[in-house]
Protein backbone atom coordinates (compact mmCIF):
# COMPACT_ATOMS: atom_id res chain seq x y z
CA UNK A 1 0.00 0.00 0.00
CA UNK A 2 2.74 2.41 0.98
CA UNK A 3 4.57 1.46 -2.16
CA UNK A 4 1.55 2.25 -4.28
CA UNK A 5 1.05 5.66 -2.66
CA UNK A 6 4.73 6.44 -3.13
CA UNK A 7 4.47 5.45 -6.78
CA UNK A 8 1.46 7.74 -7.31
CA UNK A 9 3.24 10.65 -5.63
CA UNK A 10 6.31 9.99 -7.75
CA UNK A 11 4.26 9.97 -10.95
CA UNK A 12 2.53 13.21 -9.95
CA UNK A 13 5.87 14.93 -9.29
CA UNK A 14 7.28 13.79 -12.63
CA UNK A 15 4.10 14.83 -14.40
CA UNK A 16 4.33 18.26 -12.78
CA UNK A 17 7.92 18.66 -13.97
CA UNK A 18 7.09 17.65 -17.51
CA UNK A 19 4.03 19.88 -17.62
CA UNK A 20 6.11 22.79 -16.38
CA UNK A 21 8.83 22.13 -18.91
CA UNK A 22 6.39 21.84 -21.80
CA UNK A 23 4.45 24.93 -20.75
CA UNK A 24 7.42 27.10 -21.74
CA UNK A 25 7.57 25.71 -25.29
CA UNK A 26 5.75 28.02 -27.66
CA UNK A 27 3.46 25.96 -29.85
CA UNK A 28 2.65 26.93 -33.40
CA UNK A 29 5.86 28.85 -34.01
CA UNK A 30 8.67 27.74 -36.21
CA UNK A 31 11.65 26.74 -34.18
CA UNK A 32 13.47 25.28 -37.13
CA UNK A 33 13.81 27.32 -40.27
CA UNK A 34 14.66 24.29 -42.37
CA UNK A 35 11.17 22.83 -41.91
CA UNK A 36 9.63 25.99 -43.24
CA UNK A 37 12.00 25.91 -46.18
CA UNK A 38 10.95 22.36 -47.04
CA UNK A 39 7.26 23.17 -46.86
CA UNK A 40 7.58 26.26 -49.02
CA UNK A 41 9.73 24.73 -51.73
CA UNK A 42 8.70 21.10 -51.77
CA UNK A 43 6.43 21.28 -54.80
CA UNK A 44 8.70 23.07 -57.24
CA UNK A 45 11.88 21.40 -56.06
CA UNK A 46 10.72 17.77 -55.92
CA UNK A 47 7.30 17.59 -57.56
CA UNK A 48 5.85 15.51 -54.72
CA UNK A 49 2.64 16.49 -52.97
CA UNK A 50 3.54 14.44 -49.92
CA UNK A 51 6.14 16.58 -48.15
CA UNK A 52 7.16 13.80 -45.76
CA UNK A 53 8.06 11.51 -48.64
CA UNK A 54 9.94 14.31 -50.37
CA UNK A 55 12.02 14.90 -47.24
CA UNK A 56 12.68 11.20 -46.71
CA UNK A 57 13.67 10.32 -50.25
CA UNK A 58 14.78 13.55 -51.84
CA UNK A 59 16.23 16.02 -49.34
CA UNK A 60 17.40 13.30 -46.97
CA UNK A 61 17.80 10.55 -49.53
CA UNK A 62 21.31 9.79 -48.37
CA UNK A 63 20.06 9.10 -44.85
CA UNK A 64 17.44 6.77 -46.25
CA UNK A 65 20.19 4.86 -48.01
CA UNK A 66 21.70 4.54 -44.55
CA UNK A 67 18.42 3.21 -43.17
CA UNK A 68 18.20 0.64 -45.92
CA UNK A 69 21.76 -0.35 -45.11
CA UNK A 70 20.82 -0.76 -41.44
CA UNK A 71 18.03 -3.13 -42.46
CA UNK A 72 20.43 -5.00 -44.71
CA UNK A 73 22.91 -5.36 -41.85
CA UNK A 74 20.12 -6.56 -39.56
CA UNK A 75 19.13 -9.18 -42.10
CA UNK A 76 22.73 -10.25 -42.58
CA UNK A 77 23.17 -10.38 -38.81
CA UNK A 78 20.16 -12.64 -38.38
CA UNK A 79 21.47 -14.83 -41.15
CA UNK A 80 24.92 -14.98 -39.58
CA UNK A 81 23.63 -15.72 -36.07
CA UNK A 82 21.08 -18.30 -37.09
CA UNK A 83 23.09 -19.99 -39.79
CA UNK A 84 23.25 -23.74 -39.45
CA UNK A 85 23.21 -26.63 -41.78
CA UNK A 86 20.01 -26.95 -43.82
CA UNK A 87 17.22 -27.00 -41.28
CA UNK A 88 13.70 -28.19 -41.78
CA UNK A 89 10.66 -26.33 -40.56
CA UNK A 90 9.52 -27.42 -37.13
CA UNK A 91 5.75 -27.01 -37.59
CA UNK A 92 3.74 -30.03 -36.53
CA UNK A 93 0.12 -29.15 -37.20
CA UNK A 94 -0.80 -28.29 -40.74
CA UNK A 95 -3.16 -25.38 -41.31
CA UNK A 96 -6.78 -26.22 -41.95
CA UNK A 97 -8.09 -26.37 -45.48
CA UNK A 98 -9.83 -23.04 -45.03
CA UNK A 99 -6.67 -21.25 -43.99
CA UNK A 100 -4.68 -22.81 -46.83
CA UNK A 101 -7.21 -21.96 -49.49
CA UNK A 102 -7.77 -18.52 -48.01
CA UNK A 103 -4.09 -17.68 -48.11
CA UNK A 104 -3.85 -18.92 -51.70
CA UNK A 105 -6.71 -16.66 -52.73
CA UNK A 106 -5.45 -13.65 -50.77
CA UNK A 107 -1.81 -13.86 -51.89
CA UNK A 108 -2.13 -11.86 -55.17
CA UNK A 109 -4.33 -9.24 -53.55
CA UNK A 110 -1.95 -8.57 -50.67
CA UNK A 111 0.96 -8.32 -53.10
CA UNK A 112 -1.06 -5.86 -55.19
CA UNK A 113 -1.83 -3.79 -52.09
CA UNK A 114 1.87 -3.69 -51.23
CA UNK A 115 2.80 -2.60 -54.75
CA UNK A 116 0.04 0.01 -54.68
CA UNK A 117 1.37 1.41 -51.41
CA UNK A 118 4.97 1.79 -52.53
CA UNK A 119 4.21 3.10 -56.01
CA UNK A 120 1.95 5.83 -54.65
CA UNK A 121 4.49 6.87 -52.01
CA UNK A 122 4.70 10.45 -53.32
CA UNK A 123 0.92 10.91 -53.41
CA UNK A 124 -0.38 9.17 -50.29
CA UNK A 125 0.94 8.22 -46.87
CA UNK A 126 2.97 5.07 -47.11
CA UNK A 127 5.94 4.45 -49.30
CA UNK A 128 8.65 1.88 -49.59
CA UNK A 129 8.88 0.66 -46.03
CA UNK A 130 5.19 -0.10 -45.34
CA UNK A 131 4.75 -1.38 -48.89
CA UNK A 132 7.68 -3.76 -48.52
CA UNK A 133 6.37 -4.90 -45.16
CA UNK A 134 2.99 -5.64 -46.74
CA UNK A 135 4.66 -7.75 -49.41
CA UNK A 136 6.59 -9.61 -46.72
CA UNK A 137 3.31 -10.33 -44.90
CA UNK A 138 2.04 -12.06 -48.03
CA UNK A 139 4.90 -14.55 -47.76
CA UNK A 140 4.48 -14.82 -44.00
CA UNK A 141 0.85 -15.76 -44.57
CA UNK A 142 1.90 -18.64 -46.83
CA UNK A 143 4.44 -19.69 -44.20
CA UNK A 144 1.73 -19.78 -41.56
CA UNK A 145 -0.70 -21.78 -43.66
CA UNK A 146 1.57 -24.41 -45.17
CA UNK A 147 3.93 -26.22 -42.85
CA UNK A 148 6.21 -27.44 -45.62
CA UNK A 149 6.55 -24.17 -47.52
CA UNK A 150 10.00 -22.63 -48.03
CA UNK A 151 11.02 -19.59 -50.05
CA UNK A 152 13.40 -19.83 -52.95
CA UNK A 153 16.65 -18.28 -51.68
CA UNK A 154 18.16 -18.41 -55.13
CA UNK A 155 15.54 -15.92 -56.27
CA UNK A 156 15.24 -13.68 -53.23
CA UNK A 157 18.87 -13.03 -52.40
CA UNK A 158 19.92 -11.79 -55.87
CA UNK A 159 16.77 -9.65 -55.99
CA UNK A 160 17.68 -8.08 -52.67
CA UNK A 161 21.24 -7.39 -53.77
CA UNK A 162 20.11 -6.03 -57.11
CA UNK A 163 17.71 -3.55 -55.53
CA UNK A 164 20.41 -2.36 -53.13
CA UNK A 165 22.81 -1.84 -56.02
CA UNK A 166 20.24 0.01 -58.08
CA UNK A 167 19.62 2.48 -55.24
CA UNK A 168 23.30 3.36 -55.24
CA UNK A 169 23.29 3.43 -59.05
CA UNK A 170 20.46 5.97 -59.12
CA UNK A 171 22.47 8.09 -56.70
CA UNK A 172 25.63 7.78 -58.79
CA UNK A 173 23.85 8.79 -61.99
CA UNK A 174 22.70 11.88 -60.10
CA UNK A 175 26.31 12.50 -59.08
CA UNK A 176 27.43 12.27 -62.70
CA UNK A 177 24.74 14.56 -64.06
CA UNK A 178 24.10 17.13 -61.35
CA UNK A 179 27.26 17.12 -59.31
CA UNK A 180 26.04 15.59 -56.05
CA UNK A 181 24.91 12.18 -54.89
CA UNK A 182 21.18 11.45 -55.43
CA UNK A 183 20.66 14.54 -57.58
CA UNK A 184 17.09 14.28 -58.91
CA UNK A 185 17.85 14.60 -62.62
CA UNK A 186 14.47 13.32 -63.72
CA UNK A 187 12.59 16.21 -62.11
CA UNK A 188 15.17 18.98 -62.16
CA UNK A 189 16.55 18.59 -65.69
CA UNK A 190 14.01 16.62 -67.72
CA UNK A 191 11.02 18.02 -65.79
CA UNK A 192 8.92 14.94 -66.48
CA UNK A 193 5.38 14.70 -65.18
CA UNK A 194 2.68 16.85 -63.59
CA UNK A 195 2.38 17.38 -59.86
CA UNK A 196 -0.31 15.21 -58.35
CA UNK A 197 -0.40 12.53 -61.03
CA UNK A 198 1.33 9.19 -60.86
CA UNK A 199 4.22 10.12 -63.11
CA UNK A 200 5.74 12.97 -61.13
CA UNK A 201 8.10 13.69 -58.26
CA UNK A 202 11.19 12.67 -60.23
CA UNK A 203 12.86 9.56 -58.94
CA UNK A 204 10.80 9.22 -55.74
CA UNK A 205 8.54 6.45 -57.16
CA UNK A 206 11.57 4.67 -58.59
CA UNK A 207 13.47 4.74 -55.33
CA UNK A 208 10.38 3.71 -53.40
CA UNK A 209 9.89 0.75 -55.71
CA UNK A 210 13.51 -0.24 -55.10
CA UNK A 211 13.10 0.17 -51.33
CA UNK A 212 9.81 -1.75 -51.43
CA UNK A 213 11.38 -4.75 -53.17
CA UNK A 214 14.40 -4.62 -50.89
CA UNK A 215 12.43 -4.39 -47.65
CA UNK A 216 10.02 -7.09 -48.82
CA UNK A 217 12.73 -9.58 -49.71
CA UNK A 218 14.81 -8.78 -46.63
CA UNK A 219 11.93 -9.18 -44.19
CA UNK A 220 10.91 -12.42 -45.89
CA UNK A 221 14.48 -13.66 -45.51
CA UNK A 222 14.48 -12.77 -41.81
CA UNK A 223 11.14 -14.56 -41.28
CA UNK A 224 12.50 -17.59 -43.07
CA UNK A 225 15.63 -17.76 -40.88
CA UNK A 226 13.67 -17.26 -37.67
CA UNK A 227 11.06 -19.89 -38.47
CA UNK A 228 13.64 -22.46 -39.41
CA UNK A 229 15.75 -21.85 -36.35
CA UNK A 230 12.95 -22.65 -33.92
CA UNK A 231 13.53 -26.37 -34.35
CA UNK A 232 17.07 -26.16 -32.98
CA UNK A 233 15.95 -24.30 -29.86
CA UNK A 234 13.20 -26.73 -29.01
CA UNK A 235 15.49 -29.68 -29.58
Amino acid sequence: MVKRILAIIFILVIGFWIANALAKVPFGEDKMLVGKYYLENVKEQTGAINAVTAVVVNYRGFDTLGEVTVLFIASTGVAALLWRRREERSAEVDGSLILKTGSRVLLPFIMLFGAYIFIHGHLTPGGGFPGGATIATAFLMIYLAYKEYEIDHNLFEPLEGLSGVSYVAVGLIGLAIGGYFLFDWIWQIWEVGDIGRLLSAGFIPIIYTIIGIKVGTELTGIIDRMIKESKEVEG
Binding site: S90, A91, E92, V93, G95, L123, T137, L144
Partner: protein, 84 residues
Amino acid sequence: MTIIEVSLVLIAIATVLSMYRVFRGPTTVDRIIAIDIMTTITTGLMVLFALYYKRAIFLDVALVYAVLAFLGVIAFARYLEGGL
Protein backbone atom coordinates in the same frame (compact mmCIF):
# COMPACT_ATOMS: atom_id res chain seq x y z
CA MET B 1 -23.48 16.98 -32.87
CA THR B 2 -23.87 15.26 -36.19
CA ILE B 3 -24.68 11.60 -36.66
CA ILE B 4 -21.08 10.90 -37.60
CA GLU B 5 -19.83 12.30 -34.31
CA VAL B 6 -22.35 10.17 -32.45
CA SER B 7 -21.08 7.14 -34.37
CA LEU B 8 -17.49 7.99 -33.41
CA VAL B 9 -18.52 8.07 -29.75
CA LEU B 10 -20.31 4.73 -30.12
CA ILE B 11 -17.20 3.17 -31.67
CA ALA B 12 -15.09 4.52 -28.83
CA ILE B 13 -17.51 2.92 -26.35
CA ALA B 14 -17.26 -0.38 -28.24
CA THR B 15 -13.46 -0.29 -28.04
CA VAL B 16 -13.52 0.38 -24.30
CA LEU B 17 -16.00 -2.45 -23.72
CA SER B 18 -13.82 -4.90 -25.68
CA MET B 19 -10.88 -3.74 -23.57
CA TYR B 20 -12.68 -5.34 -20.59
CA ARG B 21 -12.28 -8.78 -22.14
CA VAL B 22 -8.60 -8.12 -22.87
CA PHE B 23 -7.93 -7.43 -19.20
CA ARG B 24 -10.30 -10.02 -17.81
CA GLY B 25 -9.27 -13.06 -19.84
CA PRO B 26 -9.52 -15.73 -18.49
CA THR B 27 -7.69 -17.64 -21.25
CA THR B 28 -5.22 -16.40 -23.85
CA VAL B 29 -7.66 -17.08 -26.66
CA ASP B 30 -10.21 -14.79 -25.01
CA ARG B 31 -7.74 -11.94 -25.03
CA ILE B 32 -6.78 -12.58 -28.65
CA ILE B 33 -10.43 -12.66 -29.70
CA ALA B 34 -10.94 -9.33 -27.98
CA ILE B 35 -7.88 -7.92 -29.74
CA ASP B 36 -9.14 -9.26 -33.06
CA ILE B 37 -12.46 -7.50 -32.55
CA MET B 38 -10.66 -4.33 -31.50
CA THR B 39 -8.57 -4.30 -34.67
CA THR B 40 -11.70 -4.75 -36.77
CA ILE B 41 -13.30 -1.86 -34.92
CA THR B 42 -10.17 0.24 -35.43
CA THR B 43 -10.23 -0.41 -39.17
CA GLY B 44 -13.80 0.87 -39.25
CA LEU B 45 -12.75 3.86 -37.16
CA MET B 46 -9.98 4.74 -39.63
CA VAL B 47 -12.40 4.63 -42.55
CA LEU B 48 -14.76 6.85 -40.59
CA PHE B 49 -11.92 9.28 -39.84
CA ALA B 50 -11.24 9.50 -43.57
CA LEU B 51 -14.77 10.80 -43.94
CA TYR B 52 -14.70 12.99 -40.84
CA TYR B 53 -11.50 14.82 -41.78
CA LYS B 54 -12.36 14.68 -45.50
CA ARG B 55 -9.05 13.07 -46.42
CA ALA B 56 -9.47 10.07 -48.67
CA ILE B 57 -5.81 9.11 -48.22
CA PHE B 58 -6.56 7.77 -44.72
CA LEU B 59 -8.19 4.83 -46.48
CA ASP B 60 -4.75 3.56 -47.49
CA VAL B 61 -3.79 3.41 -43.83
CA ALA B 62 -6.94 1.42 -43.10
CA LEU B 63 -6.10 -1.01 -45.90
CA VAL B 64 -2.60 -1.73 -44.65
CA TYR B 65 -3.89 -1.96 -41.09
CA ALA B 66 -6.49 -4.54 -42.12
CA VAL B 67 -3.81 -6.67 -43.80
CA LEU B 68 -1.44 -6.51 -40.83
CA ALA B 69 -4.20 -7.18 -38.27
CA PHE B 70 -5.31 -10.28 -40.15
CA LEU B 71 -1.74 -11.58 -40.24
CA GLY B 72 -1.27 -10.89 -36.54
CA VAL B 73 -4.31 -12.91 -35.53
CA ILE B 74 -3.38 -15.78 -37.85
CA ALA B 75 0.12 -15.84 -36.39
CA PHE B 76 -1.27 -16.06 -32.84
CA ALA B 77 -3.68 -18.80 -33.81
CA ARG B 78 -1.05 -20.90 -35.53
CA TYR B 79 1.33 -20.42 -32.61
CA LEU B 80 -1.30 -21.70 -30.19
CA GLU B 81 -1.96 -24.87 -32.16
CA GLY B 82 1.71 -25.57 -32.80
CA GLY B 83 1.85 -24.81 -36.49
CA LEU B 84 4.70 -22.32 -36.51
